[in-house]
C-alpha cells in the first residue's frame, strides 16, 4: 500500500476524459487484507485504478427483549457501563468492533470494515448476549452509515470548486479545512480536501461508490496544475523509477532540470544527481 502513494503522481496527468471513463467497477472484498477495498478499473488503461477504502460501517439491530445492563456490566468481559447515558459499550476482537447496547434491546455496532463484517459482528454480539441468558432474537439488522475514503492523485483548488457549486458545496475555512459536498439523491456527504483526499459517508457501500463516481469529474476540473506538485514528491518518484528501471509513460511530471531524453544510465550530471548505483559511496 505504501507504494501507491508514491506512484500516485505518475497517474496525475490524466485527462478528464480518462477519469470520467472509470465505469467498470468491481467490489472486491479481499479476505486476506483487513480493509475492504473497491478497485475501480478503467477498461481502457490497465494501470490506472482509484482505490476506495471503506473505513467504518455502522449498523444497528435489535434483540427484541429487555436487557439488564447492570448484570452484563458485572459479569461480562470487555464492557464499559456509562450510567449517565444508560449505555453499555462492549468490544470484540475479531472483527474489531464496538457495540453500544441500550437496555431496550437496541444495539449499534461500529468499527466494522465491510458490510459482511458488520453482520458477522452483530451476530457475535447477539450470541454473547444470548449466552448471558437473555431471550435474544436477531432482528431488524440494517446498515446505518458507511464511511469511505479515497485519495485523488492531484491536489484540488477548493476555493474555486466551492465557488462554482454553491448549492451543494459549503466551504467554511474557519470551521473545517475541507469542502462539504452534499448529494441529496444518494444521501451522501463528501468532504473534499485541498490535498486531494476525499471522505464519503453514505447509507451503503454502493452509494459511496456512486458518490465518488459522480464527484470525480467535477473535481478534476479544478485540478491544481503540474507545477503545484511539490518537488519532493517528484524527486521521490524519479528515484523509485530508476530503481525499478522503469521508463515512465509520461514525461510531464519531471522537475525542470531533469533531462528526459537521456538514458538513465548515461554519465551526465543528471545521473550524478540521481546516482545510487554501487559506485556511489553514500548509499
Amino acid at each position: 500500500m505504501s507504494g501507491e502513494t508514491i506512484l500516485a503522481p505518475l497517474v496525475a496527468p490524466l485527462s478528464v476524459g480518462v477519469i470520467g471513463e472509470i465505469s467498470g467497477t468491481s467490489v472486491a472484498e479481499s479476505e486476506d487484507t483487513q480493509e475492504g477495498t473497491i478497485s475501480q478499473e478503467d477498461p481502457g488503461d490497465t494501470n490506472e485504478s482509484l482505490d476506495i477504502f471503506i473505513n467504518n460501517v455502522v449498523s444497528s439491530f435489535s434483540v427484541r427483549c429487555h436487557l439488564n445492563l447492570k448484570k452484563i456490566a458485572m459479569e461480562g468481559c470487555h464492557v464499559e457501563y456509562k450510567r449517565e447515558t444508560g449505555m453499555l459499550n462492549m468490544k470484540i476482537r475479531n472483527p474489531l468492533t464496538t457495540a453500544s447496547i441500550w437496555s431496550s434491546g437496541k444495539i449499534t455496532v461500529t468499527g466494522a470494515r465491510s458490510e459482511i463484517d458488520a453482520k458477522v459482528a452483530a451476530r457475535k454480539f447477539a450470541r454473547i448476549l444470548q449466552k448471558f441468558g437473555f431471550n435474544v432474537r436477531f432482528s431488524n439488522f440494517r446498515i446505518v452509515n458507511v464511511l469511505g475514503t479515497c485519495s485523488l492523485p492531484f491536489t484540488v483548488k477548493i476555493v474555486e470548486f466551492s465557488g462554482k457549486y454553491r448549492e451543494n458545496a459549503s466551504y467554511e475555512p474557519e470551521l473545517h479545512p475541507g469542502v462539504t459536498y452534499k448529494l441529496k439523491s444518494l444521501k451522501a456527504t463528501l468532504k473534499i480536501f485541498s490535498t486531494g483526499s476525499i471522505t464519503v459517508t453514505a447509507p451503503s457501500v454502493n452509494n459511496v461508490k456512486e458518490a465518488i463516481d459522480h464527484v470525480i469529474p467535477l473535481v478534476a476540473e479544478f485540478k491544481a496544475g503540474e507545477g503545484d506538485i511539490s518537488r519532493k514528491i517528484l524527486l521521490k518518484e524519479a528515484r523509485l523509477l530508476k530503481e525499478k528501471k522503469i521508463r515512465p509513460r509520461t514525461i510531464v511530471c519531471y522537475p525542470d532540470d531533469f533531462d528526459s531524453d537521456d538514458e538513465f544510465d548515461s554519465d551526465d550530471e543528471l545521473s550524478d544527481e540521481f546516482s545510487y548505483d554501487d559506485d556511489s559511496d553514500d548509499f
Binding site: 483548488k157 477548493i158 466551492s162 475555512p173 474557519e174 479545512p177 480536501f193 503545484d228
Partner: protein, 313 residues
C-alpha cells in the same frame, strides 16, 4: 419622498414648473428639488410636539402619542399604559380599579430579549446600528420559520450577528463573535449552517483582505505596512502557496512578514493575540510563504530589514 399630487392650483417652482415638489414634514414646507426654493409653507407638521431630553429632572413625558413603533420586528407593541396614582380610580381597598395590562405576547418577549442581546453584542464589537438591525431582521426571519426552535436563543443571536457582519461585507471572525457571546464556537458554527439552510441564503467566502485593516490598526501598524501585508496575503493565495489554510492564518502570517521587514516589528505572539490565531499556526503558514518572499512583497516596498535577514520561521 416625492409628492404625488400635482394639482394645477398648487404652487410650483417658478423656474422648474415640471419638477415634483418635495414635502418636508417637520418644517411644513414644499421644496423644489432642483433649486431648493421653498414654495409653500405652513403645511401641518407631524413631527414631535416637544423635545424631550433624557436628563430632565421632570420625568413627565409631555408627548401624547408614545414611542415610535418598532417597525418590521415587532407586531403589536403599543406603549400605551394606564396611569395609576393616588387620586385616580380606586375601589374600597385602595386597589386601582383599572389594571395596567402589561402582559405582552411571550413570543414578542423572547424577540425583545433577543434584540436587546444583539444590540449589546453590537456595542461590544463596536458595530454600527445598521448591522445590529440586519441581525435582528435575520433573527425574526429565523423565529418565524420555527425550524431552529430547540436551539438556545443566544446561539441564534450570535449566529445572526455573524451572518449580518458577513453580508454587510465586514466579516468578523468566529472567535471575535465568541468573545462577546457566551456560546461556544462549535455551537455557533452549527447554528450558522442551520440558519443558512433555513433561510436559503449564501454568504461570500472570507478573504484575507477583509481583516487587514482591523488587525493592523489593533497592532498599531502604519498604513504602508498594512498595504504591504494585504498585497502579500493576496499574492500568497493566488500563487497557491498556502492551500487549505484558513484566510485568517494567512493574513496573520502576511502581517508578520510585512512587519518583520519594516521597522515596526511585531512578534508572532502579539499578532496571534490580535487575530485569535495560535502562534504555531502563524509559524506554519509563514514557513510556506517564506521561500517565495521576494515575489510576495509589493514592488515599491521599502525594506528596513532586507529579505535575506527575514526570520526563517
Amino acid at each position: 419622498m416625492a409628492s404625488t399630487n400635482r394639482r394645477p392650483p398648487m404652487v410650483c417652482c417658478p423656474e422648474h414648473p415640471d419638477s415634483p415638489l418635495v414635502e418636508d414634514y417637520h418644517a411644513g414646507d414644499m421644496i423644489c428639488p432642483d433649486c431648493g426654493l421653498v414654495v409653500g409653507d405652513r403645511v401641518v407638521d407631524v413631527g414631535t410636539e416637544w423635545r424631550t431630553f433624557s436628563n430632565e429632572k421632570d420625568t413627565k413625558d409631555p408627548s401624547r402619542v408614545g414611542a415610535a413603533e418598532n417597525p418590521l420586528l415587532d407586531g403589536s407593541d403599543l406603549s400605551t399604559m394606564i396611569e395609576t396614582g393616588p387620586n385616580l380610580a380606586t375601589d374600597e381597598f385602595g386597589k386601582p380599579v383599572y389594571r395596567n395590562r402589561r402582559t405582552m405576547n411571550s413570543a414578542d418577549r423572547s424577540l425583545l430579549n433577543a434584540f436587546r442581546e444583539i444590540n449589546q453584542m453590537g456595542d461590544r464589537l463596536n458595530l454600527p446600528k445598521m448591522i445590529a438591525d440586519r441581525a435582528s431582521t435575520l433573527f425574526k426571519q429565523v423565529q418565524e420559520s420555527k425550524s431552529l426552535k430547540g436551539r438556545s436563543n443566544d446561539a441564534v443571536c450570535a449566529a445572526c450577528m455573524y451572518i449580518a457582519c458577513r453580508q454587510e461585507g465586514v466579516p468578523r471572525t468566529l472567535k471575535e463573535i465568541c468573545a462577546v457571546s457566551k456560546i461556544s464556537k462549535k455551537e455557533i458554527g452549527r447554528v450558522f449552517k442551520l440558519i443558512l439552510k433555513t433561510l436559503e441564503t449564501n454568504v461570500e467566502l472570507i478573504t484575507t483582505g477583509d481583516f487587514m485593516s482591523r488587525f493592523c490598526s489593533n497592532l498599531g501598524l502604519s498604513t504602508r505596512i498594512q498595504k504591504a501585508a494585504t498585497h502579500i496575503a493576496r499574492k500568497a493565495v493566488d500563487m497557491y502557496l498556502v492551500p487549505g489554510r484558513s484566510p485568517i492564518s494567512v493574513a496573520a502570517a502576511a502581517i508578520y512578514m510585512a512587519s518583520q521587514a519594516s521597522n515596526e516589528k511585531k512578534t508572532q505572539k502579539e499578532i496571534g493575540d490580535v487575530a485569535g490565531v495560535a502562534e504555531v499556526t502563524i509559524r506554519q503558514a509563514y514557513k510556506l510563504m517564506y521561500p517565495k518572499a521576494l515575489d510576495l512583497f509589493p514592488k515599491d516596498f521599502k525594506f528596513d530589514t532586507p529579505i535575506e535577514q527575514l526570520p526563517t520561521q
